[in-house]
Each structure stands twice: as structure tokens, then as C-alpha cells.
Amino acid sequence: MTASSSGTNSPAVRLRRISKRFGAVQANREVSFDVAAGSVHGIVGENGAGKSTLMSILYGYYHADAGEIEVMGQPARIANAQQAMALGLGMVHQHFMLVDSLSALDNVMLGAEPGFFLTRAKQRVRERLEALMQQTGLHVRLDAEVGSLPVGEMQRLEILKTLYRGARILILDEPTAVLTPQETEQLFGTLRGLKAQGCTILLITHKLKEVMALCDAVTVMRAGQVVQTTPIAETSEAALAEAMVGRKVSLGRTGAEHKTDAAAAPLLEARGLRLRNRLGVPALAGVDLRLLPGEIVGVAGVSGNGQSELLEVLAGMRAPDQGRLSLGGREFEAGAWLDPALARALRLAHVPEDRHLHGMVLNFPAWESAVLGYQDLDVYRAAPLGLGLKQGLMREQTAGMMERFDVRPRQPELRSSKFSGGNQQKLIMARELAQAPRVLLVGQPTRGVDIGAIEFIHAQLRGLRDAGCAVLLVSSELDEILALADRVLVMNAGHVTGELPIAECTETRLGLLMAAQGRAQEQEGHPA
């Protein structure tokens, strides 16, 4: 369905059956929708849904394998960013394309300098920019060094850059990921102003509240395909959340209902976790958490709302700015936090979200990756003086792990990079489970994993739970959470917005919580 805008006939952008494949991954599959001229059009979807790829195709960074693009009613072949800019497209990237040590003016000018000698050129650019700033209400201190500007101003600068080059169709990629709520409001004001002047805006985001507040129409993408395109008036946050996380192969619950002993002492308890990331944006805004023995606690929510930081903090890879942790009979405070080696010593295991970045060393053979994190265990110490490694034992154990978890090919000597994603993940799981942990933190366990391996991994997690372990499961696949968890926490913007026992979880309820603001207590009217 296309949204019609008064006064214009042809859509600003028309995409017809765009498809793009990278190796084995179909990033975009037959994507088609229209963007009405002079409208704000949202494109929502999870990580990996294909929205960034689609916009990169529109902006000329990639070439589509199939499909057509029309810009302002004319068919367009966009071979590179220059041609995109010539057609009036402008892109504001998620990671700013700015040079911190140069002034704002220099950054705008770069690549489009009117003249060889800059003193005169700068004057001309300054005049044009000042007129532009007046016209659009976008104010940026032109002579300030970009590195010293607040993030909101940097973003305004990025928008100004595109307008300076004559953009009438702006693409913004996750613009509010790095903004505070106040800055977000300012951005919205700016965008509304630009829209009033006839610009068309494409907003890539996964923040549904913003979509509802700002957009005229929204396209939901999932797994490279368009799920739906609707005018805002005909949808809601909850409906969008449902459409976003959608339905895949439903892995239903198996086995008898598991009863957790609510009176048992928690294996892990975290209170008041607060963390600001590098840009000063709060990633964790006061999170409390407890894990009881023999339960799987799922953390649901659109990724990017603090789940990754939560895992890193609980695993000891990062220290929070504030907060306390009880684990294995020991207490930790923000100033003297846990570290990964100590965490393992306290029987906490961690299957990281990014297996290539954290989970294994790709250049190491499988048997060396299979002891990552456990290389200092006494059982592996060999002569002389305990400095050596019992490599025979390690290789044997790796072979055993591969056997039990059906990792293929069964070659402990093979380089870690040569295994498929699913087999790598199985090996990592085997490694973490082999130490019989009491607490297991696991992030995105089945991302990039084939169906058979998914079932196996789920069975392992249940088995661990049945043996009395506490599992914290972070997953952007709601189906996975619904299939495995005994209790579900929902996170949004660094807060835990709600907690539900599995019996009370429906996709609608969870969807609402994913879009909710503030902590759970605050919503129910409790004082913060």
C-alpha cells in the first residue's frame, strides 16, 4: 500500500523488486515500495533485516542484482554516491562521516570546494551555508572543531552537508541511536521543518515510538523482505513490533512445564546497573536482575537497547559506572568489578553475541579455540613447572566435544575460520558447557545457525537448566525466547520495562513492553 501525498503524483522514490545477494546470504529479496514525495517514510526492521543494504543500494554504494529504482518519477541507474547525490539523494550515516580535527565548515566543503585557494572559497561556502541555516533552522557553529561538538550538532552538520549538495531526498540511518531524548526532539523538529520545505525523508530505525511520532508511512522489513507498507494512521507500535519480529519456524515448547524453586538463593544478583557508552548515551539505565537455579531467563527486546552491554557487564568484560553484583558468594561493586577470569573461576560461563569478535580466535586451530578462556585451568597444566599445556588432553577433549555436539568436520586441527557459523557456535557452546557452569550467559545463540543445530542448541540449554544451572538468554528472535524461557524480561532503552512468567507472555504483550518507556515499577505507578 502506498501513502499518497497531496499535490504530487510521482513518488520521490519507487523501488521495484530489488534483490541483492552476498555470497550465501540473500540480503534483499524482491523489495518493492513507494516513498511519497514530501513525506517522512520510516523503514523498520531488526539487525540483519536488510534495511541498511537497501539504502546502500539506493545511495549507490552497492549495485542490486535485480530490480529497478525510480527517483522523482524517472528511472535511475545509481552507480556510485556521486550519481546519487546528483539525483538529489543525501545520506546521513549511522557512523558520522566527519573529520574531527577539521572545522564544521571544512567538513561541509570537502569534495565540493569552489576553488583551489580556500580563503575565497570558504567565504562563498560560508555565505551559502548561512543562508541555508537560516532557511532550514539547522544551526551549527561553522568554525568549531567537529570533535568538540556535541553529538546532536554533529548530526545537524551531517544533514547540512547533504542539503549543501542539493539533496531533496534525505536518508537517515539510525539517527537517534546516539542521541539523548532532548537531542532526539530537536532532530524531529528539524526533520519536520525540512519536510515542510518539501524534502522527502527516509528514516531507517528500529525505534518504533519515533516512527509513530514522526513518519507518515512505514515499511516493515524482515529477513530481506518487505512484510508490509502502511500509512501511520493505520498501524500502531504494537502492531509494528509484531510485524518486525514476526513468525519464523515456530520452535514450540517441549517437555513438561518446568517449575523453578522461587525460594532458592539466587545464583546471580545484579542491582542498579548503570552504564554510559563512549558517546555519553546511557546504555544501561538502572537494571536489576536475579537468576535462580534451574531457570532460563530470556531477555527480549529490539537489539541495541542495552542487552549487549548487560551481557558484557555480567561477564566481567566491562565494568559498569554504578551497580552491584553478587555471584558465587562474592560481592562486586562498580569500582572493583568482576573480570572474565574470575567470572569463570566462579563458575560463570559466557557464550558471546559476536562469536568472531569475542568467541574464538579465527586463526587458531579448533582445539585451541576450544580452550579459550580455560587455558589456565589446573587440569591442563603440564611440566615443566606447570608452564606447559597438556595439548594431548586438550585435543582429546575437543574431539569429545565435537562428537557430543556434532561439530563438522570432526577435525580438531582444522583452523577455526574454516568451520561454518553453526559449527563454530556449537563448538563455543560445547566449550562453555563442558565446564559445568552454574550460571550461563548466552547471547544470540542461534544467529547464523542452521535449523538442525538450532534444535540441538536449544536442547542443550534446556538440559543445563534441568541440571540446576541458571541461564540468561539474550536473543532478538522472540520465537526463541518464547520456546525456551521460564521467565521473560523485556528491555528498552537501557531499562527493564517488564517481567513476565512465560505463561503470561503473548507477542502482543511483549511487543508493548518492547516499546514502553522507563522501568517496570515506574509504569505500574511505583516511585522510581
Partner: protein, 370 residues
């Protein structure tokens, strides 16, 4: 995302380096032509000079000993992700350490105590010289390449100062220290052989340090691939984030890597000072630190490869000396040139031919299966 190169392992580890070496040799041959000599004659004279006589072989192995030490030094650091160009300075300090201990204790201790002490001193002094840049990199973020280059010059100044003002025997005009006692001198191979009845064993600077070098190879191999500390070191070099996840502390690994690297480079002092000179001289390192870079690059940072590459360079150095007698215009500088060309083609330009090889491989695979 850039497509990864589809090169099978044997091509990556065997064919490509061999090709790069061949190119370096070919260009060297062109240089030889340019100076009016015959590459074939030079090549033959080189091999003859290096391997054709017992004496030549002795010299070749003596050179190789030094290169094994400096090559191992570079390799250990590279496995931790660091480029240690400070081998020159660390070797210099190693020689200084061996000399100081030898001059102080040489006359009071028997060889069986003195020599291990000298070795220890050489290693410790070299280690100290490398640990400072390592600390600066790990804790202050100072780039280890620049600091080690600076430390090379500082070592030269230090050595010069100590030799001229403190270690030079009173009244001596030459810039060198007093001679060590016999117990502080690493026994030369020909001495040993002659004392065992092989009267005709040719004399050369080859000494027991060769054994030390080979032991060092085994030790480095064991350390890197069989010990838990080596595992941690390689993890930091390969993927610092995964190392952090694994509870490994990258800073300490950097310190350890530089320390070991410096210690190995310091052992060059054992070969040159304790083994050959018998006294501390001004420029005994003579570029061995840089040759170590070439050796490690060619040997793919593995002790076995380093031994082979060291032999190659030993042949080059010794053969070069002999060739310079036969062929006008050929000198030690030609060897330096060849060394530079090897670093260029096998190091800096190592990947230039890789895409061509990948295409060739893909084409042969297609022919075979298509």
C-alpha cells in the same frame, strides 16, 4: 565487504614466499648485471665461498647463529602483534651486559660458571632495553615502532659513551674494552675439535653459541605453541578482543613479548662478544638486528623457517665476502642490498602477487573440475 582471497594453505605458506624470494633474487641479479658482473658467476662464487670449504661453512654457520637470535626476537614480538625494530639496540645492550659481567668476574670464575652468567647478563640487558618500549606501548600507547627506533640510537650513544669513558683500558687508542679472561670466552668450535684430536679442523668464528641458538629455537617453539603463556601471547596478537574475553590481560602479554624479544636479541651479544671478539667493541651488531627482520619475514615467524632463512643469509654474508675477492664491485653492500630487496618483496610486497596466484588457482580448479 572485500572478498577473502581463495588461496590454499600450501600456496600461502610455500609457493607465495618462494615466488617472492625468487623475484628478490631476480632483481638482485639485475643489479649484478648493472654493475657489470655476471650473475651466474656471482651465484656460483657465492655458494662456493659459503659452502665449498670447511672454513667457509664455519663462517656461514657463525653468521647464521647471530641471525637466528635476532630473527627469533622479531618473531616472538610479531606473534604478539608487535613490530620490534629495536633488535640492533637490544643486541648492543646484550653485548654490553655480557662484557660487563665478563670483565668483572672473568678472572675469578671458571668457564662453567662464567659463561652461563654471561649468557644470562646478555639476555637480561637486552630484555631491559626492550621492556621500556613495551611498557610505553602497553600503558601509554606510544607506538613501539618509533620508540624502538629511538632506542636503537640511544643504545649506540650509551655504548659509545661507556666504551670511550669507562671501559677503554687506560692509554689505549682503540675504542674497545679490555680483553676478557679465557674463561669468559665461548669456546670456538675449531678449538674444541682440535682438542679432541681433529687437528685439521678449519678455524672460523663458529662457536658454541650455535648450540645456544638451536636451543633457543626449540625453547621458542615450545614457548609459543606448547605453553600457556605462549597461548595467551598468540591470542593477544591474533585477536585482542577475544583475548580479553578469555580473561587474558593484553598489557602484560605485550610486556612479556617485548621482554622475551629483547632477551633473544641480547643473545646476539653472546655470539659476537663472548664468542668472537672477546672484548666489547663499538659496532659489533653491524645491522644484524635488521637482518633479523628479513629472516623472520622469510621464515614466516616460525623457528624452523627462521633457521632456514638464517642459513640463507649466512650463505649470503659469507659468500658475499668471498665473492668480493673474485668479482670487482661486489662487496658487503651488495649483501645489504639483497637483504633489502628480500624485505621488500617478501615483506612489504608479499601480497602483491597474491591475487594473481588466487586467480591462477581458481583457473586451474575450473580446468580440473569444469
Amino acid at each position: 565487504m572485500s572478498q577473502p582471497l581463495a588461496l590454499p594453505r600450501w600456496m600461502d605458506l610455500g609457493l607465495l614466499p618462494a615466488w617472492n624470494l625468487l623475484v628478490a633474487i631476480a632483481v638482485s641479479g639485475l643489479v649484478v648485471l648493472a654493475i657489470g658482473a655476471s650473475p651466474a658467476q656471482v651465484f656460483w662464487a657465492l655458494l662456493q665461498g659459503a659452502l665449498g670449504s670447511g672454513r667457509g661453512l664455519g663462517y656461514t654457520l657463525y653468521y647464521a647463529t647471530t641471525f637466528i637470535f635476532s630473527g627469533l626476537a622479531v618473531a616472538v614480538a610479531i606473534h604478539a602483534g608487535l613490530f620490534n625494530i629495536g633488535g640492533e639496540g637490544q643486541a648492543s645492550l646484550g653485548g654490553l651486559g655480557a662484557a660487563l659481567v665478563s670483565l668483572w668476574l672473568g678472572h675469578s670464575l671458571p668457564a662453567v660458571l662464567m659463561l652461563p652468567l654471561a649468557v644470562l647478563a646478555a639476555a637480561l640487558f637486552g630484555m631491559a632495553w626492550a621492556v621500556v618500549p613495551g611498557y610505553l606501548q602497553a600503558w601509554r600507547g606510544s607506538h613501539v615502532v618509533i620508540t624502538t627506533i629511538m632506542f636503537n640510537f640511544l643504545a649506540a650513544s650509551l655504548n659509545s659513551y661507556l666504551l670511550v669513558n669507562w671501559l677503554r683500558p687506560a692509554g689505549s687508542m682503540s675504542v674497545e674494552s679490555a680483553e676478557f679472561a679465557d674463561s669468559a670466552r665461548m669456546p670456538a668450535l675449531h678449538q674444541l675439535m682440535q682438542s679432541w684430536g681433529f687437528e685439521d679442523w678449519p678455524s672460523s668464528p663458529l662457536n658454541l653459541s650455535l648450540l645456544l641458538a638451536l636451543l633457543a629455537c626449540v625453547a621458542v617453539y615450545w614457548f609459543l605453541w606448547k605453553s600457556s603463556a605462549g597461548y595467551a601471547l598468540r591470542a593477544v596478537g591474533a585477536n585482542p578482543q577475544a583475548a580479553h574475553y578469555a580473561g587474558i590481560r593484553p598489557r602484560w602479554q605485550i610486556l612479556l613479548a617485548m621482554g622475551l624479544s629483547g632477551a633473544l636479541a641480547g643473545l646476539v651479544g653472546v655470539n659476537e662478544i663472548s664468542g668472537v671478539q672477546g672484548k666489547l667493541t663499538l659496532d659489533f651488531v653491524a645491522g644484524a638486528g635488521f637482518t633479523g627482520i628479513a629472516v623472520s619475514l622469510m621464515g614466516r615467524n616460525h623457528p624452523l623457517g627462521i633457521v632456514l632463512a638464517s642459513l640463507l643469509f649466512g650463505v649470503l654474508y659469507q659468500g658475499g665476502v668471498e665473492v668480493s675477492f673474485d668479482v670487482p664491485g661486489f662487496s658487503r653492500d651488495m649483501v645489504v642490498t639483497v637483504q633489502g630487496l628480500i624485505v621488500l618483496f617478501a615483506g612489504a610486497m608479499a601480497m602483491v602477487s597474491a591475487p594473481a596466484f588466487a586467480r591462477l588457482y581458481a583457473w586451474t580448479q575450473e580446468r580440473r573440475h569444469g
